[in-house]
Amino acid sequence: MEGFVNTALIGVSLGAQYALLALGFTLIFGILGVVNFAHGGFYVLGGYVAYACVQHLGVPYPIAVMVAALATAGLGYVFEYFLLEHLIDNHLATLMLTLGFYLVMATGILVVFGPESPEFRFPISGTLRSGGIYIPLENFVVLSVCLLTIVGVYLLMYFTDFGRALRALADDRPVAMAQGLRPGILFPAAFGLATGLAGLTGALVTPILSLAPHIGDSVLAISFITVILGGLGSIGGATAAAFIVGMVEAFSSVYLGGSKGALTLFTLVLVILVVRPSGLFGREVRGA
C-alpha cells in the first residue's frame, strides 16, 4: 500500500510539472496556430537564468525564479513580435523558425555555460515522511507552486479580458479581429505568457533534477505527447492529459520497469489517437 501511495505521489508530481509545460505549448498552438519547437529551449533557458542569478549575482532563489520567468517571457515576446509574427500564417515557416531558434538557444547556452551540468541546488532539502510514505520537501514545494500557477493560468484565461481576448482569437480569428481584437498585440503577449511558463518550470525543476544544455529535447517530447493526448489547443485537455501521463509513467515504470513503462505510455497515446484522433479533449479543427 505504501508503495502504491508513493507511486501516486510521484505521478502527481510528474503530472504537475508536465501540466505547466503543456499549458504553454498548447496555448501557443491554440491561440497562434504555431507548433513551438523552441519550447524545450525556453525551459532550459529558464533554468540557466535562475542558476546565473543565484550563483553569479547572489540573488535569492525565489526572486531568481521570477526573473527567469520574466526573462523567458520577455524573450518569447520579442521573438514573436519581431520574427514569428511576420510569418504567422505560414505553418512550415513558423515550424522552421521555432526549430532554428531552439538550436540557437541550445548552442548559445552550450557556448556560455559549457557542456557539463553546473551545481544548482534547490535551497530547501529534506524529506517529508510518514511511515514508508515519503515526498522530498523540494518536490512538495515545486508541486505546490506548479498547482498554484496552473490555477493562476486558468483564472487569467477565463476571468480576465486578456484571457477572453486570447480565447476569442483561438476560437475564430477573423471574427475576433472584426470585433476589434488586435493579434499584433495579443499574439506576442500570448507567446510570452507561454514561454514564461516554460521558463518558470525550468527554474523550478532543474535544481531538483539537473541542468544541462541538451535537456530541452526530452521536455519538448513530453510536451508533445501531453498536448496530443489532451487535444492540441485544449487547455483543460492538456492539464488532464499531463496528470494522466504522469500517473501512467509512474505506475508503469514502477510495476513494469523503465522500458515497458515508456512502451505503455506510447501505446496508450497511440490507442487514444486511433479512437479519438483529436485527443481526449480536442476539437476537430482549429478555428484560427
Binding site: I10, S13, T127, P136, A250, G257
Partner: protein, 393 residues
C-alpha cells in the same frame, strides 16, 4: 664562357635533381594518423583528449627527428575529424580518411561510432585503435580493430571484489539506459557481481529520462544492499543518486561505467550525498603519468586536455607508432597490425600492461594497463587504489 655556362647549368640541374629526390623521399616518409572522435557537443571533452593525445605523440616523434621506419626517420602528422558521437559521423570520417590515403586511425570513442566505423575499416584495410564498451567492440571478424583500453569485461570483476570486501553487499540493482550503450555494460557488470556471489538485478530506463523517481521506487522494491549506476551518463547518475538518498536508501552506490565522479557529485549534491561510492578510474595517476601532461605543456605550448582518458590515448597511440617502427613500413597495414600484436604492452609513463580480450571478445587485441579503483567512504574521498592491468579472466 659557353663551357662555363654549360657546367653551371649541369651543376644546377644536378643539385635540383638531388633536391627533388630528397624532397620526394621526405614526402614519402610521412606517417599520417587519422583521428576520429567526438569534438563537439556534450561529450567534446573525450574527443579533445583523444586529439590532444595523438598530437602529442606526433610531436614527440617529430621532436626526436622523426619516427624511425626502416632506414628513414618519418615525419608524423595528424588529421582530425569530428564524428559527433554518431555512427554515421564516424563512417563519414573514415571514408574521408580513406580518400586522403590515411591507413591508421586513432579513435573513435563510443560504441555507436565504432559500429559505424568498423565496416569501412574492414573494407578499406584500416587499422583502428578505438574505444567503446559494447560487447562487440572488437572481435575476430574485425582483425584490424584494436581496443585502446579494456571494457567492463576487464575491470568490473576486480572492482566488485574490492567493493564486496568494503561493503559486504549480497544484492545489487544496476540502473542503466535501455540502449546498447547501457545494456551492454550493465549486463557485463551484472555478470561480474554474480561471479562474486552477489545477486544482480538489471533495471533499464528510456534514455532522455529526467526524473528517475519511478525507476528508483522500483529498484528499491527489490530491497538491494547496493545500487550501481553502470554506464548511465554522469548527469543521469547524479540525479539517480540524489533521488535514491531522498527515498531513504543508505547503502553503497557503485559506478562500473565510464569516468565522471566529479560531475556526478556536483549533480547529486556533493560527496556527502554519495556517501559510500566506488567506481572505475581508467588511469591510475601517479608522477610518471603526470609527466605526460608536463611533456604536453612543453611540446605543445598549451595546457593538456582535462580528461584523464588523454593519458590512455597517449599510451595507445604510442603503441601504434611503435608498431610502425617495428614493421618498418607506414603503408603495409597488415604488417603493422602483426607488429602491434607482437609488441609487449609497455609504456614509459603508464608502465607494463597486457594484451587481453581473448576470453570475452575472442581476440587478444585489447590493451590493458594498470587502472584505478575510486572510493568515497562516509562522504570522504579516498586515495585511488592502484590495480594491476586487468587480465579479463
Amino acid at each position: 664562357m659557353g663551357n662555363r655556362f654549360h657546367g653551371a647549368t649541369t651543376m644546377a640541374a644536378t643539385a635540383l635533381a638531388i633536391g627533388l629526390t630528397v624532397g620526394s623521399a621526405a614526402a614519402q616518409c610521412e606517417l599520417k594518423l587519422g583521428v576520429i572522435g567526438v569534438m563537439s557537443g556534450p561529450a567534446a571533452q573525450w574527443g579533445l583528449a583523444l586529439r590532444g593525445a595523438a598530437e602529442l605523440v606526433a610531436a614527440e616523434a617529430n621532436a626526436a627527428g622523426g619516427l624511425p621506419v626502416g632506414s628513414q626517420k618519418c615525419k608524423v602528422s595528424t588529421v582530425s575529424i569530428d564524428s559527433k558521437y554518431t555512427a554515421e559521423g564516424a563512417a563519414a570520417a573514415a571514408n574521408n580518411m580513406v580518400s586522403q590515403g590515411i591507413k591508421l586511425i586513432i579513435g573513435p570513442i563510443g560504441s555507436p561510432e565504432m559500429t559505424g566505423l568498423k565496416p569501412i575499416a574492414n573494407r578499406n584495410n584500416l587499422l583502428v585503435m578505438g574505444n567503446g564498451y559494447a560487447k562487440d567492440a572488437i572481435g575476430p571478424q574485425w582483425p584490424l580493430v584494436f581496443h585502446q583500453g579494456p571494457g567492463p569485461s576487464g575491470w568490473a570483476a576486480p572492482i566488485v571484489e574490492v567493493a564486496k570486501a568494503k561493503f559486504n553487499m549480497k544484492k545489487v540493482v544496476l540502473i542503466a539506459p535501455n540502449d546498447q550503450g547501457g545494456t551492454d555494460i550493465a549486463s557485463v557488470d551484472a555478470a561480474a557481481y554474480k561471479k562474486h556471489g552477489i545477486e544482480a538485478i538489471e533495471e533499464y530506463y528510456q534514455r532522455g529520462t529526467t526524473n528517475f523517481a519511478p525507476i528508483i521506487t522500483r529498484a528499491l522494491n527489490a530491497k538491494p544492499d547496493a545500487v550501481d549506476t553502470a554506464s548511465s551518463p554522469p548527469g543521469d547518475a547524479g540525479i539517480i543518486i540524489k533521488q535514491l538518498r531522498q527515498a531513504g536508501f543508505a547503502g553503497p552506490i557503485g559506478r562500473l561505467g565510464g569516468p565522471g565522479t566529479e560531475e556526478i557529485a556536483r549533480v547529486a549534491g556533493g560527496y556527502e550525498v554519495l556517501k559510500n561510492f566506488y567506481w572505475y578510474e581508467p588511469v591510475y595517476i601517479d608522477d610518471k603519468v603526470r609527466a605526460i601532461a608536463e611533456s604536453y605543456k612543453k611540446l605543445m605550448n598549451a595546457n593538456p586536455p582535462e580528461n584523464n582518458l588523454f593519458f590512455q590515448w597517449v599510451s595507445a597511440t604510442r603503441m601504434v607508432t611503435k608498431a610502425v617502427t617495428k614493421a618498418g613500413t607506414v603503408d603495409d597495414v597488415k604488417k603493422i597490425a602483426d607488429a602491434l600484436r607482437s609488441l609487449p604492452v609497455e609504456d614509459e609513463n603508464m608502465g607494463k600492461g597486457l594484451w587481453i580480450g581473448k576470453e570475452f571478445f575472442g581476440i587478444n587485441q585489447e590493451l590493458s594497463f594498470p587502472f584505478g579503483i575510486g572510493l568515497i567512504l562516509d562522504g570522504k574521498m579516498q586515495p585511488v587504489l592502484r590495480h594491476e592491468a586487468a587480465t579479463g579472466k
